[in-house]
């Protein structure tokens, strides 16, 4: 079942690679710590941490943009920002938050946790995993350099044709949007292939699909959505690239183009995109709620299949973004119908979470509060979502602040609340210390207050007729009060969201001052495999491959049923956990090539935007990196102790004994 138990990729010649080094194989990086290690690592855990850190950095940019927007809209006809600056800022806010914050936080959790939850040593293709991260970062940084090179994109994150054309948007902002997202999209695509392969091929013995944690399931669905959605966006962006930079006319109405082509392409990508942003958060709370309710997730099969159903139905609802584009009543009816019913699997999830809370013994710590926060806030976004499906009503709602309220309830109250629940839950596993609970409570209640003050009034503003993307409104329109409330709320929200980082800093210092106490492998008495290794996770993850016999296998090793069908504890997590002291475990070797290849792409991108001559060094660098990568063996021939054959188990292990110590089954 598990590839990790297969043989290493030996060189086809059969020669000892240490003796005869193939062409182009340089000495590989071997640093275990320090900057060089981070730049060359292929460890899924470090890559996950880097995804999360990069997302936090972009969150600061996107959040700053949000505050600028709210300052501008605080009072009528405000002159804080010009129309041009406002248009660029709201475009970049949306783009950065979607592509560089919510998506990579999802990727951070998937990267760090999914291999641990399926009992794997790493992902299927570790170097591609590093490449996925670096190429996402390269694209994201390139997109943000537009702030200094002629201004950000000004066409909205949806970037409708023909307003995205060179005539209507002559500055280079949209070119950066195009190139940056195309490059970042490569990372999403390779990441999707990698994680799907990992889930399908690298699960520990005994972990059937229906024994996978819900988070792993949601990761799988999410990656399939990415795999099929990103190429559609890339197609649209290539058409736009050809139009803007090479004089093509895919969106030139004069020559017979239909601008709705862009809308169809964008939303066939864009709607699955919404679900791939929210599903990882659904997976996270599906892990957190059972852990702190101290009972299993209610209706695991329903949770799994509703997630899959959302994944499928998400492809059939895109035109609800286009109800007023003039598609005709038949098309609108069809998509209204489909959109209505995507609420069913989502509703099942919400009700099953509530049923998990029912009869539970709830520990209301920060992680749990954020999870319950998701359930309630997301429901509000779900309800307004159903009201959009009522297409005639949507003709009054669409492109107003009602929509802005809706998707912030889904993406902030939903996805981001779930992610922060995940931060509090898995922080000790990742960093070896718990986040402070008092600061966490402040974090949560501040965010609930700020969030609802910011986005709650937007429902009202929208239905009172305030359109989106307006840099100014008149005093006489009656929007003053709620805009001021929203602006006040946004500052509360910004400060309390920032408190995640403040809390991390404070908690770290207290933990250091207390002599770095070990939180133990299983600080929450939780359910899944990642809690069966030490905290922070050892570099090699598992000393030996776990064998799984149950859903929530780790939990069932701690508790067994007595004669009255009551669960009785037979062991603590700490007693069952792997000691993490295995030595000589074979791990994928670090490599320079992923980061080199990734950063060759923006060079080409700048070349397309500014001067085609610059593409030449970019392409040369890319080719060098590709060949270097291709010629580099998967294994490092220079590492001492390297030996052929089945070296994936620590020395001394017989490779067959997969039983966990203290296992009762």
């Amino acid at each position: 079942m598990a590839i990790i138990e297969n043989e290493t990729l030996a060189l086809p010649s059969g020669d000892d690679p240490a003796v005869e080094r193939p062409l182009g194989v340089f000495t590989r990086p071997r640093n275990q710590t320090g900057l060089k290690n981070w730049l060359t690592t292929v460890d899924h855990k470090k890559i996950g941490i880097m995804y999360g850190s990069a997302a936090m950095f972009f969150l600061l940019i996107g959040g700053l943009a949000a505050l600028l927007i709210r300052i501008q809209l605080a009072t009528p006809n405000n002159t804080f920002l010009s129309a041009d600056a406002y248009n660029r800022i709201f475009t970049m806010h949306g783009t950065v938050m979607v592509f560089l914050v919510v998506m990579p936080i999802g990727a951070a959790f998937a990267n760090y946790l999914m291999p641990l939850q399926v009992g794997a040593r790493d992902v299927a293709f570790p170097r591609i995993n590093a490449f996925s991260f670096w190429v996402f970062l390269a694209g994201g940084l390139m997109l943000n350099t537009s702030w200094f090179l002629g201004g950000g994109a000004d066409g909205g994150w949806f970037n409708y044709a023909p307003n995205n054309g060179i005539i209507y948007s002559p500055s280079t902002g949209i070119d950066f949007w195009n190139m940056g997202l195309m490059i970042a999209g490569i990372g999403s695509l390779t990441g999707a292939v990698n994680l799907i392969t990992t889930v399908l091929n690298m699960r520990a013995p005994g972990m059937t699909l229906m024994r996978m944690p819900v988070f792993v399931w949601m990761t799988l669905v999410t990656q399939f959505l990415l795999l099929f959605a990103i190429p559609v966006l890339t197609v649209a962006q290539v058409l736009l690239l050809m139009d803007r930079n090479f004089g093509a006319s895919f969106f030139d109405v004069k020559l017979g183009a239909d601008p709705l082509l862009w809308q169809h392409l964008f939303w066939i990508f864009g709607h699955p995109e919404v679900y791939l942003m929210i599903l990882p958060a659904f997976g996270i709370v599906s892990e957190v709620i059972p852990a702190f309710a101290r009972k299993p997730l209610f209706g695991y099969p329903f949770m799994v299949f509703s997630g899959i159903a959302i994944g499928f139905m998400g492809w059939g609802v895109w035109a609800h973004h286009m109800f007023v584009s003039g598609l005709g009543p038949l098309t609108v009816s069809g998509f209204a119908f489909a959109t209505m019913f995507i609420a069913v699997p989502t509703g099942v999830k919400v009700l099953n979470w509530l049923a998990t809370l029912w009869g539970g013994r709830l520990t209301l710590n920060t992680a749990m509060l954020f999870s319950i926060g998701l359930v309630t806030q997301f429901t509000i976004g779900g309800l307004s979502g159903v009201s959009h499906a009522i297409a005639p009503w949507d003709t009054q709602q669409t492109d107003t602040y009602y929509i802005v309220a809706h998707f912030h309830y889904v993406l902030f109250g939903g996805a981001l609340f779930g992610f922060i629940a995940g931060f509090y839950f898995w922080w000790p596993k990742v960093f070896g210390y718990k986040l402070n609970e008092a600061h966490g409570k402040f974090n949560f209640w501040g965010m609930v207050l700020g969030f609802n003050l910011t986005f709650g009034p937007m429902h009202i503003l929208g239905l009172q007729g305030m359109p989106r993307r307006m840099y100014a409104y008149d005093d006489a329109m009656g929007f003053n009060t709620w805009n001021m409330v929203a602006t006040i709320g946004s500052f509360i929200l910004a400060i309390s969201t920032l408190w995640v980082l403040v809390n991390a800093f404070i908690s770290y210092n207290r933990w250091k001052a207390a002599g770095r106490p070990d939180p133990g492998p299983d600080p929450w008495d939780a359910r899944t495999l990642e809690w069966s290794v030490q905290s922070p996770t050892p570099e090699h993850n598992f000393d030996y491959t776990p064998v799984v016999t149950d859903l929530d296998d780790f939990w069932h090793r701690k508790f067994v049923e007595d004669e009255n069908h009551r669960l009785k504890r037979v062991a603590t997590g700490a007693e069952l956990a792997q000691p993490g002291n295995a030595e000589g475990v074979h791990l994928p070797a670090p490599s320079y090539w992923p980061i080199v290849l990734a950063f060759s792409l923006p060079v080409i991108g700048y070349g397309v935007i500014f001067t085609l001559w610059l593409t030449i060094p970019g392409i040369v660098l890319m080719m060098v990196a590709l060949f270097g990568w291709a010629l580099e063996p998967a294994d490092d021939p220079d590492v001492e102790g390297h030996h052929d054959g089945d070296d994936h188990e620590p020395e001394g292990s017989d490779g067959d004994d997969h039983e966990l110590v203290g296992a009762s089954s």
Partner: protein, 440 residues
């Protein structure tokens, strides 16, 4: 004990504050409010919404209340936490779960049926022969084309006999040549910025755009419909009463999206017929040998011809010996001027708004205040000037002519919108405004 009254005070304060905010927010006048529909289509939408709200409310209370309630009820305090004491391990209940799959599905089905009925109702159009209006979006103003002879057809301006109407009578809407012609036949009427309609009848609209996608939305009359270049979208509005309605472009259309507004005025059918007749008249030509006021306007006309006429048309009587056949000096193409055209100013002073309906052309004044009325300068005539309390907003107009990009975001360097004319002196501006005031 000492904490309690403080808390209660704080809570009461919060409550009072919230109610005050709520009341003040309700008290404001909201011209775009979707909760106050006037036209029958907007009312039909609102009526559908009115019975969805309670359903949403019940689900909201059940789920959000359930979540909060369960959290409070099942909470275990840290000091009571026993790691070995587990609640009953319920793994699920398929019957229950099928129920809460099916029940929401049935509720949604019940909502879907009237939804689909209304989708089709909103598309219903008049029989051929009624008044139709073509709505054309431009960066960043709207043009309204009237079908004067009332046969339900728009005549194509290029004179090739191609005709089209909202029901597709006489030709396929999709056969229209792009880009849309700027020039109009003499028989056609094009009015920028303010749409005037008769009360009590449905007006079918053909909505399109000359440049980027815009969206036409008069919230109190109907939902919105996009103006997509290359497409002829149909939609309709109806106002039962006399009144003015405002709207706002609701599809992001570039730099001055916020400066693209709509104004719809509904008049009694007789007044409307009169309005239509007035609009079809050529502009008056002020004479340089007339009174002081008229001589000023004649000055303004000369300036207008020199500075403004390359983009703006004023239709004068070609049979008048002094009349000038205004034509667009440039052959507009999308490559040259993104929006392709500037508003026709033949009946400028008859409208209540200018600059993409961003600014009011008239301001309210106290009719008893003689000083104010003296300042008016222009006669301030207009169909809205019913009770003599409105005056021509010449100050705003002067600011606009002198430096339009400072009044509304525009990018004239890239042919997007109106340029500034810093060379104009105060006298020049007086003259131009005096001329514009004669264009009623």
């Amino acid at each position: 004990m000492r904490k309690f009254p403080k808390r209660r005070l704080a809570r009461t304060g919060l409550l009072v504050g919230a109610v005050a905010v709520l009341l003040s927010a309700c008290a404001e006048d909201k011209p775009l409010n979707t909760f106050e529909p006037r036209g029958p289509k907007a009312e039909a939408i609102n009526n559908l919404a009115l019975w969805i709200w309670p359903i949403m409310g019940v689900v909201f209370v059940l789920v959000v209340g359930g979540g909060i309630g369960l959290a409070i009820k099942n909470r275990v305090k840290p000091e009571d936490y026993d790691p070995d004491d587990l609640p009953e391990q319920v793994h699920g209940n398929p019957k229950l779960e099928w129920t809460w799959t099916a029940v929401p599905a049935l509720i949604l089905l019940a909502i879907t049926i009237p939804t689909i009925v209304l989708i089709w109702d909103l598309e219903e159009k008049n029989e051929p022969g009624e008044l139709d209006v073509m709505v054309i979006g431009n960066q960043w103003w709207w043009e309204y084309r009237y079908d004067i002879d009332g046969d339900g057809f728009f005549e194509d301006a290029d004179g090739d006999g191609e005709i089209y109407g909202p029901n597709g009578e006489g030709g396929d809407l999709d056969d229209v040549e792009w880009p849309l012609d700027i020039a109009l036949d003499d028989d056609d009427l094009a009015v920028p910025n303010q749409l005037v309609i008769p009360t009590g009848e449905q007006i079918d609209l053909v909505i399109t755009s000359r440049d980027v996608i815009h969206s036409f939305w008069i919230p109190r009359l109907n939902g919105k419909r996009d103006a997509v270049p290359g497409r002829m979208n149909t939609w309709s509005i109806e106002s039962p009463d006399v009144g003015e309605y405002t709207g706002w472009c609701t599809e992001f259309c570039g730099l001055s999206h916020a400066g693209m507004r709509m104004s719809v005025v509904a008049l009694e059918p007789d007044d409307f017929a009169q309005w239509l007749a007035d609009q079809s008249e050529p502009a008056d030509i002020p004479s340089a040998t007339g009174g002081e006021e008229e001589a000023l306007a004649a000055n303004g006309r000369a300036l207008f011809q020199a500075l403004c006429a390359s983009c703006h048309i004023v239709n004068e009587d070609p049979n008048d010996p002094d009349g000038v056949a205004f034509t667009y000096a440039k052959d507009f193409t999308a490559d040259e001027l993104a929006s392709g055209a500037a508003p026709d100013l033949t009946n400028f002073a008859s409208r209540a708004v200018f600059a993409g309906a961003t600014y009011s052309q008239y301001v309210e004044v106290d009719p008893d205040d003689d000083n104010l009325l003296e300042e008016v300068g222009g006669d301030g005539e207009g169909y809205l000037d019913l009770d003599g309390s409105l005056r021509f907003n010449d100050a705003a107009l002067k600011r606009w002519i002198k430096d339009a990009p400072s009044q509304k975001a525009m990018d004239p360097d890239n042919s997007l919108g109106m340029p500034a004319f810093p060379q104009l002196s105060e006298q020049d501006l007086e003259a131009l405004v005096a001329y514009l005031a004669t264009l009623d």
